[in-house]
Symmetry: C2
Subunit: 329 residues, 2 copies
């Protein structure tokens, strides 16, 4: 994707803008992190205040450097976005941020090009550059947390669909007639295995089984039952919790198998809170991949935990900045 | 993908090798079909006899042309294949054809480069070049006939997975716990909606409903019940048949929705015998796409019947030959 490797004196800023925090790092073209900052975004104070916070954060990062060495800024942001126009489009997670021209504003302020990427794509670019899918030809990343985020990075370039849009692979339908999702479908992956869905299912289970360890572990308070507690109860041998975890593992296996069958990527990188319990799900996924070997090298697709954790978005945004800088120079 | 457009005097042969017939055409770089031949492949006579038949077919096609104007040959073949080595690997549909070096043999015989493609990929390349997905950035093709074939053509290039393999998207799992498929999964798309699966389901339905129009249309002979008869009975208003067709439409809609969500292609081209009844399935698919607009431009993905019918494979194989010729010159 890049016309030339960046000069080692060239510097890039990566910004990871989430619903709660904004994180930012200053990196060089080799991926060395030179500075790191984070702060609450306080989205409810509005986009103007938010942009000023981001501006201030970048000021801190570049305070000790020559202004000329900063070559580009990348932003990975919670969506939806208009990437071409560089605007954030009223995301659910940033209330009141309607059509905010974040790329233009930062480009004018720092006099460098600014790349805007979907946060899932930024994280995958980070894992491609420095993490779980380093330099592989085809990296698919699935992040299961509050939602299910997906990204496909093909030879270092983010895959984009019609109108340049980011495909929301987390809304793959797994179970017709399953729970209704805001996406319009029933039984999509997000409606079944995202953190809040697991919490809901665990609470329903605990309510039905007041003599279970799960119920006891929550002290009888269903409000305390969540995805991590379910995993904990399953590990402690609670039969009902084990049954639900097996069911969730089968659903995750179906989702990842479908991705493996359709894309045959070299690596599927797994990120997000739910995959902190990857060992509970991996056997089901592996078995599904092995049994599909009759239709191609599905069993050769590697499942790899994401490496970069909360830094993936910042690194990936910086990598998007490097790509933009290389393509525009 | 191509370094230069082909000269209008350059000629290319496309071969479509199926389990029953081999079809071949001589085309120029503008896609004009100059000659056409087809004959039974008679696979049971063995690969040696088969290769001689293909050789003879190409001899007929090029008999009237200068030998120097033939620039390359493309073959779209029933799989599995080893594309890199140019060999056909013992496909179910060509019994006894183990590791047959079809590309090398034809390359030596005609002294031109030979491209070998999976038949689904060849058909999609044909539709990209001259048919339903002409020059679109992202063309996904789904062919439902004896099996469910898929192909993804991205800016004119066939998408390939790990080890260069062809992803068998027809084995996308739609219904956990559904019918067992040879792919190892239960409830994959092929196990539910391929022609033989529809036939099986229609026979089960007819057996249960001896007073139905479906049963009457078959004269009470279940051996006569097949996918086209089911569609016919549904059109005639048979309630049971309509119910089964609606169920199949919902499954096809789920499969195509998943492809649309994951790839956001500009066009999904629909080929094969089952889609000759596309009007029975299209409303369910359209409704599913419309309702998913909340997560991106899924509703902008066009559903288009494949245009080239039985010629798609020959045209696409010829297009693969053109690409090979351009890349090797």
């Amino acid at each position: 994707m890049m016309s030339a490797p960046p000069d080692s004196n060239d510097l890039f800023v990566g910004v990871d803008l989430g619903g709660t925090l904004v994180r930012a790092g200053l990196v060089n073209g080799q991926g060395h992190l030179l500075e790191w900052q984070s702060m609450p975004i306080e989205a409810r104070q509005g986009p103007q205040a938010g942009l000023e916070r981001i501006h201030g954060l970048i000021d801190c990062l570049v305070a000790k450097t020559d202004r000329g060495s900063l070559k580009a800024i990348g932003i990975g942001s919670t969506g939806p976005l208009d990437r071409e126009r560089g605007t954030i489009q009223n995301p659910y997670t940033l209330p009141g941020w309607e059509d905010v021209p974040v790329a233009n504003r930062l480009s004018q302020a720092f006099d460098v090009p600014v790349a805007l990427e979907n946060d899932a794509d930024a994280a995958a670019l980070g894992e491609f550059w420095l993490g779980a899918g380093r330099s592989v030809d085809r990296l698919y990343m699935v992040t299961i947390g509050t939602g299910v985020g997906t990204s496909f990075v093909e030879r270092g370039a983010v895959y984009r669909g019609i109108q340049g849009a980011h495909p929301e692979g987390g809304h793959l339908v797994l179970q017709p007639g399953g729970p209704l999702c805001y996406c319009g479908a029933r039984g999509c992956m997000e409606s079944l295995v995202a953190g809040p869905s697991i919490m809901r299912r665990a609470r329903e289970l605990a309510a039905k089984l007041p003599h279970s360890q799960l119920y006891a572990m929550a002290g009888g308070d269903l409000e305390i039952v969540d995805a991590p507690l379910l995993m904990h109860a399953a590990r402690a041998g609670d039969a009902g919790s084990l049954g639900l975890v097996d069911q969730i593992a089968a659903e995750i296996a179906q989702g990842l198998l479908n991705i493996a069958v359709l894309f045959l990527p070299n690596v599927i990188a797994l990120g997000g809170g739910v995959f902190e319990n990857l060992d509970l799900f991996q056997p089901a996924v592996r078995a599904a991949f092995q049994s599909a070997a009759a239709i191609g090298p599905v069993d050769k697709v590697k499942l790899v935990p994401a490496h970069l954790g909360k830094r993936a978005g910042v690194y990936g945004a910086a990598y998007a900045a490097i790509q933009l800088s290389a393509n525009s120079s």
